[in-house]
Subunit: 487 residues, 2 copies
């Protein structure tokens, strides 16, 4: 059974163990950004974190930041971008039903936000990795995240916007290191091992939180506002079952503490939520193999252009297509992948003919052959009339053939590295907030004194997701929430 | 902006305009069932209804009741059923993630529940309509609702459970007539033109509602409990955008008043919701044409066995496949449909060859031909290895060919008759309740004095839907909620 989260009247608190202008609950990227900007606005800030150290799920993430509109890195790599162009892409890629008001602000403020990261000491190498991938096998600071794939290349001028701090592999920790260093420099205290349990309310206004710290019940008072940056709810099985059952049974991209506690604390006060069913889900497939071949469902049917952002083919497969799914490649395609040995992924099946491969993969007789026949006929002309994969990746597939299991790849979530379902994800829905983080109640009114940002809130996303938009909107709207709470 | 729904403290109510043991808010099928069983349990009951008369969306529905386990109608038609068999089908068909606890009770109590309808004077003709359809063009009282289609025929012994009151066409009004007549007979007063606006609370217990009636603000006291049977939220665009955006822009299967008011009133008090993104969505296609041909997506790919429950092919298309979708038939198939002239649906395209038809339908060159080639090769052997359509409907398609637009058909929702998207639906998510209708808060505790049933609550459904389960679970759990509130 879930922990009780009913709001506590201030009159029931005998004494507060601490007090600040702004209380920030949860120290991932959104909490750090909120605390920094609240402090910069002159507020006395106190951060509460349930774990023994800062970082949350942000620190375990890949570290991509979705930024554009003409950042110095984009410019150095020779790309012209603007806020409208960025908006046009994200509206489509995060949709359907992206939050256009938040998205507009996010795009308009993106170059400034990039500058903020640089000012904190986050560095970006000014070079592009130019092929579809989950993560470049290089230190390149810029990468494509689906902008140059159909139909997005028709909706906006394709420019890459995946910004990566200079690091090998996962880089979320590096961003959190810089954020936490800035907090220390700003003199913002962080109370770790302190699990917020309920909101404290006085005359309809949120004025603090109760918490469990070092085995004792404690309470903290907020003179101006409480900012909930407690993360999503992928780690709470009850909430998943109620709101996002599509993730049940899959791996979890989180630090294990994304249990939706902040969402529940606010909902107990009548806060409303938004898009609780929206999720990101990722297959750990090798995009480099996929673009050179084809991705098919259990019936041998293609269903998407293989050069899209990898999260998109993952969602298309897991949410919409019968599995198991297969990546079909030919020998020449496989051999042409520069990084083919990097991830330790190998074909699981090989065959001289498609009929043999069909039989091995238990695809109905003739179904894969029909798919490849149509694909090859058009690919010979550099065309993909079904899904419009870019001509760069199109040529007829020829024997011998091989198949890869797209569920096998490098680990991007707990339990995702080739075990279980081979898919892992996290939740995108949460508290319904204004663009300044004000939490709305079910009557559509802001709850006085209560703010939220990051995955505890519903951000810029509709039903779609692009890497870098979590750290991106978490920090961007975290800063706005911090400033609003400080007022 | 939404109407405010914040709970009102009882101390703020100067005087109550009425009082009863049990207040039922909303007079559709769930409200009528709750009121009848509360009254039968000895409670004094008052029903509030916002419209000028009873009925709600229930009265406008088709009138199917999903019942089984061995009803007299099933027995008279020669079918043996039992509760376990019914449970096995519904768990799969209403899933994934159906509410198994509620479903178990629903199946175990189904024969009794059938008897309750008969005791109210609802009559069922003891004959079967034996082909896939949205609604039999006959007065047959029993129909298949997907039980005999793959994979369900493998998971449970196929028996039909769609029960229809004896009537031509839509029969929801007939069921509501009988329920309302029983209410009158039981002496339960109904206050129409009374729109509940907020819950009245005293010491954490729901003790009444405020409402708007005849231009005046009124309040009613409930000595034992309030039962919310206010319907779903398909008519509230803000709630749809927040929770079930897949329905935005589509037609609405409702009476126009399903604005989620009861869900919001309870959520303002910290009630939790469940599966707010689950929806039923229906294309008005002609199932009789579809089973004799094939349903393909915009790329000429099949994606489901065409003999499933029509709501299932609709959901598969709208939620998961690129449109426009097409029903491909051949002349012999079309001519063999007994009721082909009944619904006024005609093929929109015809061609001597599949290549011509592809071109007319803007399907990529060769894609439909490949689909039909694979289909025909297997159909000649009475086999459908891709989707397992029943052999009864399998034979190779031969020229000349025709295509029907599955968005054109008879109207099943406002705005659905060939206008707009040709799809219409309603919401399945709502308040999270116990099996006795007790509304749970976000801490998992029952809110004293508050109950809910029907589409204001999350019922037996997971992400799937079957006709007859709304009137079915609305009345079944409405009765349980009424009895619990009367205690």
């Amino acid at each position: 059974m879930s922990r009780p989260v009913a709001p506590v009247p201030a009159s029931a608190i005998e004494r507060f163990d601490g007090e600040a202008d702004v209380l920030v609950v949860g120290l991932g990227c959104a909490g750090a950004a909120a605390a920094l900007d609240a402090a910069a606005a002159g507020a006395e800030v106190l951060v509460l974190e349930r774990a023994s150290g800062p970082g949350g799920s942000s620190a375990l993430s890949g570290g991509e930041l979705y930024l554009g509109g003409g950042t110095p890195v984009q410019q150095a790599c020779g790309f012209e971008d603007d806020a409208d162009n960025m908006f046009a892409y994200l509206r489509a890629a995060l949709g359907p039903h992206a939050d256009e008001e938040k998205l507009r602000l996010y795009c308009d403020g993106s170059v400034d936000h990039f500058g903020w990261f640089r000012s904190l000491g986050v560095e970006f190498q000014e070079s592009l990795f130019d092929a579809p991938t989950w993560m470049p096998p290089t230190r390149d600071g810029l990468m494509w995240l689906g902008e140059n794939a159909w139909p997005y290349d028709q909706l906006a001028r394709p420019v890459p916007r995946g910004h990566r701090p200079t690091a090998e592999g996962f880089a979320g920790w590096l961003i959190m290191d810089k954020l936490v260093a800035a907090l220390h420099e700003a003199g913002v205290p962080v109370q770790t091992d302190t699990l917020a349990s309920a909101l404290v309310v006085e005359d309809g206004r949120v004025v603090g939180v109760t918490a469990r710290g070092y085995g004792a019940d404690v309470a903290y008072r907020a003179r101006r506002g409480v900012v909930l940056t407690t993360g999503g709810f992928v780690d709470d099985e009850e909430m998943l079952a109620a709101h996002a059952p599509v993730l049940l049974g899959h791996g979890k991209v989180s630090d294990g503490l994304d249990d939706g506690s902040g969402i529940r604390m606010a909902a107990a006060l009548g806060a409303t939520t938004r898009r609780m069913g929206s999720v990101e889900i990722a297959l750990t497939a090798l995009p480099a193999a996929m673009v050179r071949g084809m991705l098919v469902n259990a019936l041998g049917q293609r269903f998407i252009n293989e050069d899209v952002y990898p999260g998109l083919f993952s969602s298309a497969a897991v949410k919409h297509q019968p599995g198991p799914w297969w990546v079909i490649v030919d020998e020449a395609g496989w051999e042409s992948i520069p990084e083919r040995d990097l991830w330790g992924v190998r074909p699981t099946h090989a065959a001289e003919t498609l009929a043999e491969l069909e039989s091995e993969l238990r695809i109905p007789d003739g179904a894969l052959q029909a798919t490849v026949e149509v694909y090859n006929r058009h690919a010979a002309r550099g065309d993909d009339p079904l899904f419009h994969k870019h001509a760069r990746w199109l040529r007829p597939l020829e024997p011998p053939f091989a198949a890869l299991d797209p569920r096998l790849g490098f680990a991007i979530g707990r339990g995702s590295a080739g075990e279980g379902t081979g898919a892992a994800g996290f939740t995108l829905g949460g508290l319904h907030t204004t663009v300044d983080g004000g939490v709305l109640d079910v009557s559509g009114r802001e709850i006085p004194g209560l703010f939220a940002a990051g995955r505890a809130s519903a951000g810029i996303h509709g039903e779609g997701y692009i890497s870098g938009t979590s750290l991106g909107d978490g920090t961007f709207f975290g800063r706005r929430a911090g400033r609003a709470a400080a007022r």
